[in-house]
Amino acid sequence: MSNAHSHDDIKKHVRTYMVIFFALLVGTVVTVWLNSVHFESAALTIGIALFVAIIKAGLVAGFFMHLLSEKKAIYMMLAVTIFFFVAMMFLFVWSRDQLPRGGEYTPTKYVPNPSAIGSY
């Protein structure tokens, strides 16, 4: 509750918010700059972009949404969310050999094609 914080505490928070703000702007510039570098490996390009995005998202969630100091009830709700979110993201990885590829799609014939995934 708001009354639990003294004015000094809030002023300290405001300084943190400003630091996070600049960190987010720097993160945006870094993302765009790294993208103009054109790494040979597509996996590296995607990895770096997602890494910076996850750090930025962590800063927003941790400080702006003050998740770093929340109550247990919210952590429990988010744990369930993360579980289902990750499961959903993995659904297509688990079924990748059955995915339609471009114009060709052979639903009955199972053809393992390890080179098909990750080409970009």
């Binding site: 509750m1 708001s2 009354n3 914080h5 004015h7 809030i10 928070h13 405001v14 918010y17 400003m18 996070i20 703000f21 987010l24 702007l25 945006t28 510039v29 993302t31 765009v32 993208n35 103009s36 054109h38 390009t45 995607i46 972009a49 997602l50 910076v52 995005a53 930025k56 998202a57 927003v60 969630a61 702006f64 949404m65 109550k71 247990k72 009830a73 919210i74 709700m77 988010l78 369930v80 969310t81 289902f84 979110f85 959903m88 993201m89 659904l91 297509f92 990748r96 995915l99 339609p100 590829r101 471009g102 114009g103 995934i117 990750g118 080409s119 970009y120």
Partner: protein, 288 residues
Amino acid sequence: MEIPFTEKARPDTGLYNAKVGIWLFLASEVMLFGALFSAYILLRVGADPGTWPHGLLNIPIGTFNTAVLITSSVTVVLGWAALQMGDFKAYRKYQAVTILCALGFLGIKSFEYKDKFSHYEVWLKEPVTVKHGDKEVKTDRLLGHIDYNGVHPYFWKTETLAAKKVESFKFAPDPYHYTMSPREMAHAKQESSGHAHEMMEIKSSQVKRLSAFVPAHSTFFAIYFTLTALHGLHVLGGALVIAYIWGPGAKMWKTHPEQYINRVEVSGLFWHFVDLVWIFLFPVIYLL
């Protein structure tokens, strides 16, 4: 009837009820955007090599819009902090910036959309020779802008040519195509920057397919418009709620200040989530 725990925390959760509510809502939003993100990955991984459009979005504008959203997110927390210290005037100023940023974001996004709706790809029956950067290439697929009797039309498709009885139209081809690699494309753009586009005449009988950059163009634009429009609706909704609390809803500050601060916090949580989605959308859609 009085709604319980709008100000004080419920003993078992340690939270006022609206906060539990907004987090449950955000959890469902994570799944909504997560489903569309996984659809994006599926379409992208499933695309045949060289068929996924890339490099067609305006990166400087996207970067600027990212900065606009980040700014609005920090003014939300600054406004909330000011309110906790009892400084209503400062809160009003910060949230005014938030609302302006939200409108700015939507304005810029509409400008981007408008630009896409008059940008075309044309598939030809016979290949033609065009300049890509410093190279001459023979190709049957061109990107560019249509000039028909001095106007740049929007939303034309293959059927439009017959419907409007267009026999031929002028076309200003772009010096690149997304079938190039990202590196080649960047090179071609750089080589040709500053040069005037050479107009060419295209006969309608030569056109196999014509499409503006609309959802029907490709799975890329379909998922691009789905994701960004859904995000745009969230920006609009969030801005409306924040503006209501800022304007007509501000009467509550006099009668129930604690509840008012909580409302500002909860609307802020939603706003940060919208910012968070964009933090992933921008690199994934504009850059990768």
